[in-house]
C-alpha cells in the first residue's frame, strides 16, 4: 500500500493484521477521512462494544439467577441498514456471540434498536396467523430525539445539516432542561444521553417502569415536555398563559434565561439586523410597543455601539418595556418568557417518543455522513461536550495503527473511544445492571412467597 494508492482510492484498505500484532509500526498511520465497509469492518472487529450492548439489552437476564428470563434478549428487535440501503428488520439474537457475529459479518452501516416483543421476532409470522395480536411489543425504553434542524428558524450560524459550537448550545440547553425533569419529576434514574453523530442528541430512559409504559403514557410525557407548537403558517408558536407557569416551566425558565442572555443573544446575534429583530418584534402583539422599539433601533444604526453589545442592549430595551406595566394590549403578560422559550426551549420529535415500536439508532454506531461515533454525553458536564471533537472512524483507525503491543481485548481502551466506553459502563451500565438484578431477585422472592402462602391455603 502506498500513500498515493490510498489517496487515489485505488488501494485495498484492509489493514494488515499481521503487522499490528507484531507491533511493527505501520508506515501509514494516517488514515484518510471516510466511511466505508472496510473501515467499518475494523471498527466492528476491534472497537464496537458488542458485549456492553448485550449486557445492557439483557437487563440482568444473564441466566445466573433462577428468576432470569432466558428468552428476554432473544425477543428484542434489532434492525440493520446495509451498504446498498438494504434494510433488514426484525433481526434477533439469542446470545452475545450471535449478535457479535452477525454484526461483524453483515457490517451494517446503521444499527437500530427496537422493542422487546412478546415472542422472538423471527417467529412473528407464526403468531400473526392467530389474529389475536400475540406478536406485540411488550417493552421498550422511553426515548427522545432532539435534532438541530428543528431549530432552523432560530439559529443563524448554521442551517440544515451543519452544526457548530454556537448552535450546539441549544442541545446543551435541551439536556439541562429534560434531564432533571426526568429524574426529579418522573422519578427515573437510568438515563443515557447519546450524541446522534451529526446534529442532535438521543435520550434513552431505561428504568423498568419506563420500558413498560404504554404508547398513551409515552405520549403524555412527550406532551408534558412540549411547549413549541405551530409552524410557519401560524404566528405564535409558543403560547404561555398569562397566569403563573407550571413548576416545570418555571424551573426550566431559569436555565433558558441564563443561556439566552449569557450565550444565544450574542452568539446568534439575535438583534443585530433588521430582519432578525423584526422576527422578535413579530412576537409582541402590541403595535405601540413594537413601533417604539423599532424607532429606537433604527436611530441606533448610526451610533457607535459595538456589535457585541447591541444584542444585549436591545434585549434590555425589550424586557424593560414589556415588564414596565405599559400593558395596554392583552397577551403581553408572559411575552418576555415566550420569546425566551421560542429561541431556546427544547424541541422534541414527538413521534419518536410516542410509539413503543419506534426504532432508534444504537449508541456507538458511526454516522455515515460524518464518520463520527455516537458517543454518550454526560448530562452533568454537557456544557463541555464538543460535537466537533468527537472521535471519527478514521481517527480511531489511526490510533489503532499506532497502538502497537497489547491484547486484542482492550484495543478500544487505547483509543479515544476508551473514555466513552468507560463512562458508559461506570455511570450507566453498572448502576443499571445492579438495579436490574435486585429487581429480578425481589420479584422472584415475591413469587416464591406468594406460591408458599397459596399452597398453605
Amino acid at each position: 500500500m502506498t500513500k498515493e494508492e490510498i489517496e487515489n482510492g485505488t488501494a485495498d484498505m484492509e489493514i494488515d493484521q499481521r503487522e499490528l500484532m507484531n507491533g511493527e509500526r505501520s508506515e501509514l498511520n494516517a488514515v484518510p477521512d471516510g466511511f466505508n465497509a472496510n473501515y467499518l469492518k475494523v471498527y466492528y472487529g476491534k472497537l464496537f462494544p458488542h458485549a456492553d450492548i448485550f449486557k445492557w439489552m439483557s437487563y440482568g437476564n444473564d441466566g445466573k439467577h433462577p428468576g432470569c428470563d432466558e428468552s428476554y434478549f432473544g425477543r428484542r428487535e434489532f434492525s440493520f441498514t446495509l451498504d446498498n440501503d438494504i434494510y433488514l428488520r426484525f433481526q434477533s439474537f439469542n446470545s452475545v456471540s450471535q449478535l457479535e457475529n452477525s454484526i461483524k459479518e453483515k457490517c451494517p452501516f446503521k444499527i437500530d434498536i427496537g422493542p422487546v416483543y412478546s415472542v422472538d421476532p423471527a417467529k412473528r409470522h407464526a403468531y400473526a396467523q392467530s389474529g389475536n395480536n400475540v406478536f406485540t411489543p411488550v417493552e421498550k425504553e422511553l426515548v427522545f430525539d432532539i435534532d438541530m434542524t428543528d431549530y432552523d428558524d432560530v439559529r443563524y450560524c448554521c442551517s440544515g445539516a451543519d452544526v457548530c459550537l454556537k448552535c450546539w448550545t441549544l442541545m446543551t440547553i435541551a439536556i439541562k432542561v429534560i434531564d432533571p425533569a426526568l429524574r426529579d419529576d418522573f422519578g427515573f434514574n437510568h438515563i443515557l444521553w447519546v450524541y446522534s453523530g451529526r446534529r442532535g442528541v438521543h435520550c434513552w430512559v431505561c428504568d423498568p417502569k419506563a420500558r413498560r409504559l404504554t404508547n398513551e403514557q409515552r405520549s403524555s410525557i412527550a406532551e408534558y415536555f412540549r411547549v413549541y407548537k405551530g409552524n410557519e403558517n401560524s404566528q405564535k408558536k409558543v403560547s404561555l398563559t398569562s397566569s403563573a407557569l407550571h413548576p416545570f416551566l418555571l424551573r426550566s425558565y431559569k436555565v433558558l434565561e441564563e443561556f439566552f442572555e449569557g450565550n444565544l443573544l450574542s452568539n446568534q446575534s439575535l438583534f443585530s439586523t433588521e430582519e432578525r429583530y423584526e422576527k422578535i418584534l413579530e412576537m409582541i402583539p402590541d403595535e405601540s410597543i413594537t413601533s417604539e422599539l423599532r424607532g429606537k433601533w433604527q436611530d441606533n444604526k448610526k451610533s457607535s455601539i459595538s456589535k457585541e453589545n447591541i444584542n444585549v442592549d436591545r434585549w434590555k430595551h425589550v424586557k424593560k418595556i414589556l415588564k414596565s406595566g405599559k400593558q395596554k394590549g392583552q397577551g403581553l403578560g408572559k411575552c418576555v418568557e415566550e420569546i425566551v422559550f421560542s429561541f431556546s426551549y427544547p424541541r422534541l420529535d414527538m413521534e419518536v417518543s410516542k410509539h413503543m415500536n419506534h426504532l432508534l439508532k444504537a449508541p456507538f454506531c458511526i454516522h455515515p455522513k460524518t464518520g463520527r461515533v455516537c458517543v454518550p454525553i454526560d448530562p452533568n458536564h454537557c456544557e463541555e461536550f464538543d460535537p466537533t471533537a468527537v472521535p471519527t472512524l478514521s481517527k480511531l483507525l489511526e490510533e489503532i495503527n499506532m497502538g502497537g503491543l497489547g491484547t486484542d481485548d482492550d484495543e478500544w481502551d487505547r483509543t479515544s473511544l476508551g473514555k466513552s466506553i468507560r463512562f458508559f459502563r461506570s455511570s450507566f451500565l453498572q448502576p443499571l445492571l445492579k438495579s436490574c438484578k435486585e429487581e429480578i431477585e425481589n420479584s422472584y422472592n415475591a413469587k416464591l412467597q406468594h406460591s408458599k402462602t397459596s399452597l398453605t391455603w
Binding site: 440501503d85 428543528d150 428558524d153 426529579d184 419529576d185 418522573f186 422519578g187 427515573f188 417502569k209 409504559l213 404504554t214 398513551e216 403514557q217 405520549s219 403524555s220 410525557i221 406532551e223 408534558y224 413549541y228 407548537k229 405551530g230 409552524n231 410557519e232 403558517n233 401560524s234 404566528q235 405564535k236 398563559t241 397566569s243 403563573a244 407557569l245 407550571h246 413548576p247 416545570f248 416551566l249 418555571l250 424541541r347 414527538m350
Partner: protein, 450 residues
C-alpha cells in the same frame, strides 16, 4: 413507597353512583321499538358532543352542552325507567359501533367524553365512590407529604388561576395513571407521583372507564361476528346495521364513479373544487416538491377519496417528489406508503380520508402544512389565503368572524358559498364532501349553459 390500596368496600348504601358504569349487560327486557328508539336518542347526544368538540368548544361549554343534550334526549316518562334507558341505549350502541376500528374509536371517544362531563356534575362523594369502584390506587397524601411539595402545588394551582385552599385534599398517584393530566401539565409531579386535586379525580375515573370500554368493545365485536349477527338476522341485525349508516354519513372510502379525476386536470380542479386545507397542501407540494408525513396523509387520502387511482397517485407524487429527492429515493422511501394508503401493503387496511373533525383536531408542527387553516393559520395568513381564492372582502370578514368564534366548519361552509355563489345548507363536514358538492355545482352550471 407503596401505594396502599383502599381496603374499604365501595359504599353502596348511602352513596349510590347514579352513573352506570356499563360493566355488564343488564338482564333487562326491552321492547323492540324501544331498542331502536333508545339508541337513536343516545346517538343524538353523542353526535351533539362530537359536533361541539369539532367546533373547538372548551371544557366548561362542553360540560353544559352535554348536560343539555342529555336532559333533552334521555328523559323518560317513567322516572324509574331513566336508568334503564341509559343502560340499554349504551349496550345497543355497543353492538352498532363495535364492528370496525373507526366506529369503535369514535364511540369510545364520545362515550368517554359523555361519561366525563356527567361525572363533573356529580358530588365529590359520588366521584370518590366511583374511584373505589374502579379499584384505583388512590391514597390521600399525608400532611407531611403535602408540606414537602407545597410550593409546587401552589404553583400548579396558580397556573390555572386558582388559589390553593389551605385544607385541600390531594391524592398521590403514580403519574402513569393520569396521562391526560400529565400531558396538559395540570398536576404537580415529583419522583414519579402525581398530586391530584379533588376535581381532577374525574380524569382518573374516566381513564379507567375508557380502558374498560375499549376492551369490552373488542369482545362485543367478537361475539357479534361469531354469533349474534347470524342469530339475529331477522330481528336485531337490520336495526343495528341501519342505525350506524343513517348517522355517520358517507365516509368517502369508496369514491364514486363520476368523481374520478386524472392528473392532467388536477391543477384546474384544485383551484376550483378543493377546500382550503387541501388547496394549501397542494400548492405547497407544487412549490416545495415535498410534504411531511402529516400532509402526505391528509392530502393523499383526500385524493384517493376524490377518485385518484393508485397508478395516477404514484405518478403524481413521484413527479413532484423526484424534483426534490430524486426518483430512486421516491421509489424507495415514499411509494410504499402511498400503496399502504390504498390498502396494498402491510395489513391492507383501506384507510379512509380524514373528516373535518379529525383534521381540526390534528396538531401541525414545524414544517407541516396539514391541519385546518381556519384553525391553524394566523389571521393574517388566513386572510391572504382567502384573498387568493378570489373571495370578496365582505365575505372574508364573515368568514373571519366565524373563525374568531371557533366555528371552523362554518367558516369553510361560508367560503364554499362565496366561491360557488350558492348556498350550502348541510354545512361542510368532510373535505371530500366539499369537493363533491363543488363538482355538482360546477357541473350543473355547465349543463345549464349548454
Amino acid at each position: 413507597m407503596e401505594i396502599i390500596r383502599s381496603q374499604r368496600k365501595p359504599v353502596h348504601i348511602d352513596v349510590v353512583p347514579t352513573l352506570p358504569l356499563y360493566r355488564s349487560a343488564p338482564p333487562l327486557e326491552v321492547r323492540l321499538e324501544d331498542f331502536e328508539l333508545y339508541a337513536m336518542d343516545r346517538l343524538r347526544v353523542l353526535k351533539g358532543i362530537a359536533d361541539g368538540l369539532s367546533r373547538g368548544k372548551k371544557s366548561e361549554e362542553m360540560k353544559n352542552l352535554a348536560d343539555h343534550l342529555w336532559k333533552a334526549n334521555m328523559r323518560h316518562l317513567d322516572a324509574s325507567e331513566v336508568v334503564n334507558k341509559d343502560i340499554i341505549s349504551h349496550f345497543v350502541l355497543r353492538l352498532v359501533y363495535c364492528r370496525t376500528e373507526d366506529l369503535r374509536k369514535w364511540f369510545l371517544s364520545m362515550e368517554t367524553n359523555l361519561f366525563r362531563y356527567r361525572l363533573l356534575f356529580e358530588k365529590a362523594e359520588v366521584q370518590r365512590a366511583l374511584m373505589a369502584e374502579f379499584d384505583l390506587p388512590y391514597r390521600a397524601a399525608s400532611n407531611a407529604e403535602l408540606e414537602s411539595v407545597k410550593e409546587g402545588l401552589k404553583q400548579v394551582a396558580q397556573s390555572f388561576g386558582q388559589p390553593l385552599a389551605a385544607d385541600a385534599i390531594f391524592y398521590k398517584v403514580p403519574f402513569e395513571e393520569v396521562p391526560e393530566l400529565v400531558a396538559g401539565r395540570r398536576v404537580f409531579i415529583h419522583k414519579g407521583y402525581a398530586y391530584i386535586a379533588m376535581n381532577q379525580v374525574v380524569s382518573l375515573v374516566s381513564t379507567q372507564f375508557r380502558s374498560h370500554l375499549s376492551k369490552a368493545l373488542i369482545l362485543t365485536n367478537r361475539k357479534w361476528t361469531s354469533t349474534i349477527r347470524e342469530q339475529e338476522k331477522d330481528r336485531l341485525t337490520p336495526i343495528v346495521e341501519a342505525l350506524c349508516s343513517s348517522y355517520l354519513g358517507p365516509d368517502y372510502s369508496q369514491p364514486r364513479e363520476f368523481a374520478e379525476i386524472s392528473i392532467k386536470d388536477i391543477d384546474q380542479i384544485a383551484k376550483s373544487s378543493f377546500p382550503l386545507c387541501m388547496r394549501h397542501l397542494f400548492e405547497k407540494l407544487r412549490e416545495d416538491h415535498h410534504l411531511k408525513h402529516g400532509g402526505r396523509m391528509q392530502l393523499g387520502l383526500f385524493l384517493k377519496g376524490v377518485g385518484l387511482k393508485l397508478e395516477d397517485a404514484l405518478a403524481f407524487w413521484k413527479a413532484e417528489f423526484s424534483q426534490r429527492v430524486g426518483s430512486e429515493r421516491f421509489d424507495k422511501e415514499y411509494a410504499y406508503s402511498i400503496r399502504h394508503n390504498y390498502g396494498r401493503e402491510g395489513k391492507r387496511t383501506d384507510y379512509t380520508p380524514y373528516s373535518c373533525q379529525k383534521i381540526i383536531t390534528s396538531a401541525p408542527g414545524v414544517g407541516d402544512h396539514h391541519g385546518c387553516p381556519y384553525r391553524h393559520f394566523s389571521e393574517e395568513n388566513l386572510r391572504a389565503a382567502l384573498g387568493k381564492m378570489g373571495i370578496s372582502n365582505r365575505a372574508v370578514e364573515d368568514v373571519m368572524d366565524k373563525v374568531r368564534n371557533r366555528h371552523y366548519q362554518l367558516a369553510c361552509t361560508l367560503t364554499f358559498e362565496a366561491v360557488h355563489g350558492t348556498s350550502c345548507d348541510a354545512g361542510i363536514n368532510h373535505p371530500n364532501q366539499y369537493f363533491s358538492d363543488s363538482q355538482k355545482v360546477l357541473q350543473s352550471k355547465n349543463q345549464s349553459t349548454v
